[in-house]
């Protein structure tokens, strides 16, 4: 008992410290300011540097929070999909679930719905629909389904990007087009910090997933094996899929399409910590948050003029990793 509790506590403390560090870095760096100025602002609130303060509290803080929530959600989403489909290469973006949310969200926006609950609901519907499609593809013979699933995901994504481009061309305002295109590759800049409120359901979703950590472990060794160990497989799958697709679609509404996070982070932690979800879930949440704050920081500072969509950075890291994992699994 003691050893497991000690292990989990140590890991969580380390990851929490990493997250705090990432948050501070995310607040400190950008077009203006630096660690020293931010530190002064934090400990000494009546310093008169209103511009920097406004930048940090009104612009950077919401942005860093959005990056953190997105990173946590997407890496946890990847972890859950990998467990449910028993496929280490499954991930919300690769499977097309993120794309489905995006199609739903854009349709909602074009219909003139408000972001909450209108667009959030159409995004959720889009992601659920895609998930059911993917599950249909994933059923069938075990030996063929890994490749079928990935191929299906590729095709679903190709189809959705065509739909998205088509929908954008319907948009009456030309100025929106650039914005939507940027959002499609992952965009953490927001109009108002209040928009973060629609992300609050993400937290209960994560808690539900953590409660189901042990059944997820059992599912990894096969559905019948899990059922014979007392897991209500259909119920657990239904809960996990709905909850995951809900939180992913909320994040897509806010942050757009950020790919491969759900592949990169769970793989790193599985290599470091093994396959036990009671460790992996909190590790992926904290680690995914730090990772995406870091990627966003790079995206903001690396380009000499303006900024990059964060999805570029995550794809530059994640796509080669995906190819490597695919190559390794073939041997």
């Amino acid at each position: 008992m003691g050893s497991f509790a000690r292990k989990i506590t140590t890991i969580l403390i380390v990851l929490l410290l990493l997250l705090v560090l990432a948050l501070l870095m995310g607040l400190a760096f950008g077009s203006t300011g630096g660690i020293r100025e931010v530190w002064h602002l934090l400990i000494n609130s009546d310093q008169d540097n209103d511009t920097l303060r406004a930048i940090i509290w009104q612009i950077r803080l919401p942005r860093v929070i959005l990056a953190a929530v997105t990173g946590a959600t997407l890496s946890l989403g990847g972890l859950v999909f990998q467990a449910l489909l028993r496929n280490p290469l499954a991930e919300p973006y690769i499977l097309g679930v993120s794309g489905g949310s995006a199609v739903g969200a854009i349709s909602g926006m074009l219909l003139g719905l408000t972001i909450f609950p209108g667009v959030a609901l159409t995004a959720f519907a889009g992601s659920m629909f895609t998930l059911l499609l993917v599950l249909g593809l994933a059923s069938g013979h075990l030996s063929t389904r890994r490749d079928t699933l990935l191929l299906g995901g590729v095709m679903i994504n190709a189809f959705y990007s065509a739909v998205i481009t088509f929908l954008i061309s319907l948009s009456p305002k030309a100025s929106q087009v650039h914005q939507i295109l940027f959002w499609l590759m992952g965009d953490f800049s927001m109009q108002t910090p209040e928009q973060l409120i629609i992300l609050t359901p993400v937290l209960p979703c994560m808690i539900i997933i953590y409660i189901l950590a042990r059944p997820m472990n059992l599912l990894l060794l096969g559905e019948e094996s899990a059922a014979s160990m007392g897991v209500d497989v259909r119920l657990i799958r239904l809960i996990l899929l709905s909850v995951t697709s809900l939180m992913v679609s909320l994040v897509v509404c806010q942050a757009g399409l950020v790919g491969f996070v759900g592949l990169t982070i769970p793989h790193i932690f599985r290599m470091l910590l093994g396959a036990d979800h009671r460790l992996l879930i909190p590790a992926c949440v904290l680690g995914g948050a730090s990772y995406l704050i870091g990627c966003d920081l790079l995206a903001r500072t690396i380009a000499s003029n303006g900024e990059l969509p964060v999805g570029i950075i995550t794809a530059l890291v994640g796509a080669p990793l995906f190819i490597f994992l695919l190559w390794r699994s073939k041997r």
Binding site: M1, F4, A5, Q82, A83, R86, N87, P88, I211, L212, R214, P215, N217, L218, L220, L221, G222, E224, S225, A227, S228, M229, G230, V231, D232, R270, G274, A275, D276, R278
Partner: protein, 261 residues
Amino acid sequence: MKMVEVDKLTVTRGGNKVLHEVSLNVEQGAFYMIIGPNGAGKTTLLKALSGLIKPDRGAITIQGRDIRRFSARELARILAMVPQQVALDFPFRVAETVLMGRSPHLDLLAFESRHDRELAQQAMDFTDVSHLAQRRLDEVSGGERQRVIIARAICQQPQIILLDEPTASLDPAHQLKIMDLLERLRHQGVTVIMVSHDLNLAGVYGDTLVLLKDGEVACLGSPEQVLTEEQLQTSYECSLMVDENPVSKRPRINLLPERYR
């Protein structure tokens, strides 16, 4: 004590009757061997017994209680299943896998107690996999992995253990090791029901054999009653000769190649 009673069990899949009015009566501590040609319904029977598939007609009673009135967790505390294969896509360690056997006894959020760890250790000692505890499940050999899965089932502390061809694809040494293990379990009072294609193993270790053919019980009884030349040749549609194993005094099945007929 009656452990498992099957009364006129009928299972239909896709319009075909996979099992037709199968009836069994398994006492506590019995060693049942389910044999029969491919497609006879052996695995389906095992799955029905473990609650994985629902009967269309007939009833299954576990310890005097209808199987449909058990929750999945309640059933898993009485009955453990060893599947033919487990998925190996994720790197669980042997000790972690065995400890999973405690799940039906634990609340969702509870961590395993020292007692649970001790039970897992005992199960690993019993199946001789303790030295592999920290190895990954995909790194150990097929025979070792099968023993790990049996250890997990033992860790579940079941009164009934169901096994689907646990010795298939294992070399003779590993086959013997697993069968002896099951016999020791049975002597501890655990009821064992196993599907096998190996008629000799079935004859030596089983005390009651169930020969299935086309979803029906073709013959049920002691090895001497079931493993007869006539019975087997009709069911399996192949040439064979049955004599007596000089050591175990149980029936010994010899397959006859075409050139000797």
